[in-house]
């Protein structure tokens, strides 16, 4: 399977991907209700398709933007690629390591300090204490959080958490970098710094998946864009074309 991916130069291959969630229709308040409803055959679930028949091939070193309205399935797609969810049907093939930055705080423990979280997060991504020790200074430096390094994360602002998450995820050299919305909370200076680093990584062959509601940012960073609507692909192609039609539709 991995051999195939090498041949085609694709780092991610997604075929007929479908993700279905069962939303509980009625909230049962206890065992009694549950039994009564189950025996009456009333325990139904609302099926909800977060993604439907998505096909996508991503080549190594490409930067892909994913756009769409709230609830169109962007985060679900990224979570499937990272292996957090198992697809209802279809297949995902991923070659290489992933550094996921999905939503705020890419796997931090709020009780622990920034220092401890750097090591925890590194271990989550599969790196040893020693490796993280070697890169520790660079991570702290980039995040500009020297002053707060021994403060528990729970006291951090969302921007500070995003800084830390981004610094860790980009310091460990993963093959695929997933960035979901997290840059929106950073200030302009830090955003600029992040874009520079992402471009740098892409030059070195890192594949980037980038979700943002800011279409300008997507256009700036990504060559290719995937537009999702109601869990299905609405449009896929070069970034300027897709972004243009997306913006046109948003204006209507």
């Amino acid at each position: 399977m991995i051999g195939e991916l090498y041949m085609t130069g694709n780092i991610i291959e997604i075929e007929n991907l479908t993700m279905r969630f069962n939303l509980a229709q009625e909230q049962f308040s206890g065992l009694k209700d549950l039994i009564i409803m189950a025996s009456k055959g009333k325990l139904k679930f609302n099926e909800f398709y977060a993604l439907k028949n998505v096909m996508l091939k991503i080549k190594k070193g490409e930067a892909w933007g994913i756009i769409g309205r709230n609830g169109s399935g962007k985060s679900t797609l990224l979570k499937l690629i990272s292996g957090i969810y198992t697809p209802t049907s279809g297949a995902i093939k991923v070659k290489g390591t992933i550094a996921p930055l999905i939503e705020l705080g890419a796997g931090f423990d709020p009780e622990l300090t920034a220092r401890e979280n750097i090591f925890l997060n590194g271990a989550v991504l599969g790196y040893s204490h020693r490796f993280m020790q070697d890169h520790f200074d660079k991570i702290v430096n980039f995040s500009e959080l020297e002053q707060f390094i021994d403060v528990p994360i729970k006291n951090f602002s969302s921007g500070m958490v995003a800084r830390l998450g981004f610094s860790i995820a980009t310091m460990v050299k993963a093959d695929i970098l997933i960035i979901d919305e997290i840059l929106a909370v950073g200030d302009a200076n830090f955003q600029e710094k992040c874009y520079k680093r992402m471009c740098n990584m892409m030059e070195n062959g890192t594949t980037v998946l980038f979700v943002s509601h800011n279409v300008k940012d997507v256009e700036k960073i990504c060559k290719k864009v995937l537009w999702l609507e109601h869990g299905q692909i609405k449009m896929v192609g070069n970034s300027n074309e897709v972004c243009q039609s997306y913006q046109n539709e948003m204006k209507e």
């Binding site: 991923v94 999905i102 925890l120 040893s128």
Partner: protein
């Protein structure tokens, strides 16, 4: 990614396991003055209280009662603490699970292992009691890792089972402490087996912890080595717990994220 075999993912995430264990230990004694010393003091103080109670109020005819008591307490205490913290492991780590792929069994496993580390500390308490009560140190003590291993494997199995079930059925959270209380009374921790009426003694036969504690006592208290049959039986019990725990966990883990 999900189909990676257990050992492979255990190896791949060994750093995480280490990090999680040290996190648990750090958080446990954060802001307490005596810190790790509590792992030692706790069993000693508890033993002291119970010894007083059972020497003056109820009397059991057990030679070297303090040692008898602290062994039972240490083993059962480890089991009950480790499975209780493992029970909440998936729910507590939901924020992490929702954002990164991590093999989920690592959470109950790390919690049981961090309790195990604490328990190893409290073995020093047993050592102290042995010194005070003039129990001879014989070569049989070398077999001590065996009952510890049995209890560890058994607790990992129960921990995985209960952590998975609790995600779907939060009632388990409230019920488990009651189950543990009943379980502790059905385990000869502070009483001798001889006081159990013959017609209900069969209940003890279905209690794996009874065998593990007895194994430990044979080695430390009576300086005898349990026979091969007993050893194999204890092994089977602990392996069975792990296998059942792993099967149930594997079945239930698919939908954890939707329920946490």
């Amino acid at each position: 990614m999900k189909n990676e075999c257990l050992w492979k993912s255990l190896y791949k995430y060994r750093f995480l396991l280490k990090e999680l264990i040290s996190r648990d230990l750090k958080i446990k004694y954060r802001r307490s003055f005596l810190g790790y010393l509590w792992s030692l003091m706790n069993p000693l103080l508890m033993m002291w209280v119970l010894t007083l109670v059972f020497s003056y109020i109820f009397r059991f005819d057990i030679p070297n009662y303090p040692l008898y008591l602290i062994i039972g307490q240490t083993i059962f205490g480890f089991f009950s603490e480790s499975t209780t913290v493992a029970m909440m492991s998936i729910i507590d780590n939901a924020p992490l699970l929702k954002k990164v792929y991590v093999p989920q069994f690592i959470f109950p496993l790390s919690r049981v292992l961090s309790s195990f580390v604490t328990m190893i500390f409290s073995l020093i308490a047993i050592l102290i009691v042995m010194l005070i009560t003039d129990v001879p140190f014989k070569l049989t003590l070398l077999a001590l890792p065996l009952p510890l291993l049995f209890t560890l494997l058994f607790s990992v199995g129960v921990g995985m089972l209960i952590s998975a079930v609790t995600v779907y059925l939060r009632d388990v959270m409230h019920l488990y402490s009651i189950v543990l209380t009943a379980w502790s009374f059905l385990t000869p921790i502070f009483y001798p087996i001889s006081i159990v009426p013959a017609n209900i003694r069969w209940v003890l036969q279905y209690n794996p912890l009874y065998y593990f504690i007895d194994y430990f006592r044979q080695i430390v208290l009576y300086n005898t080595l349990p026979n091969v049959q007993t050893t194999v039986f204890c092994f089977e019990l602990s392996i069975a717990a792990i296998v059942i725990g792993a099967i149930v966990f594997n079945k239930l883990q698919k939908n954890f994220l939707l329920y946490t």
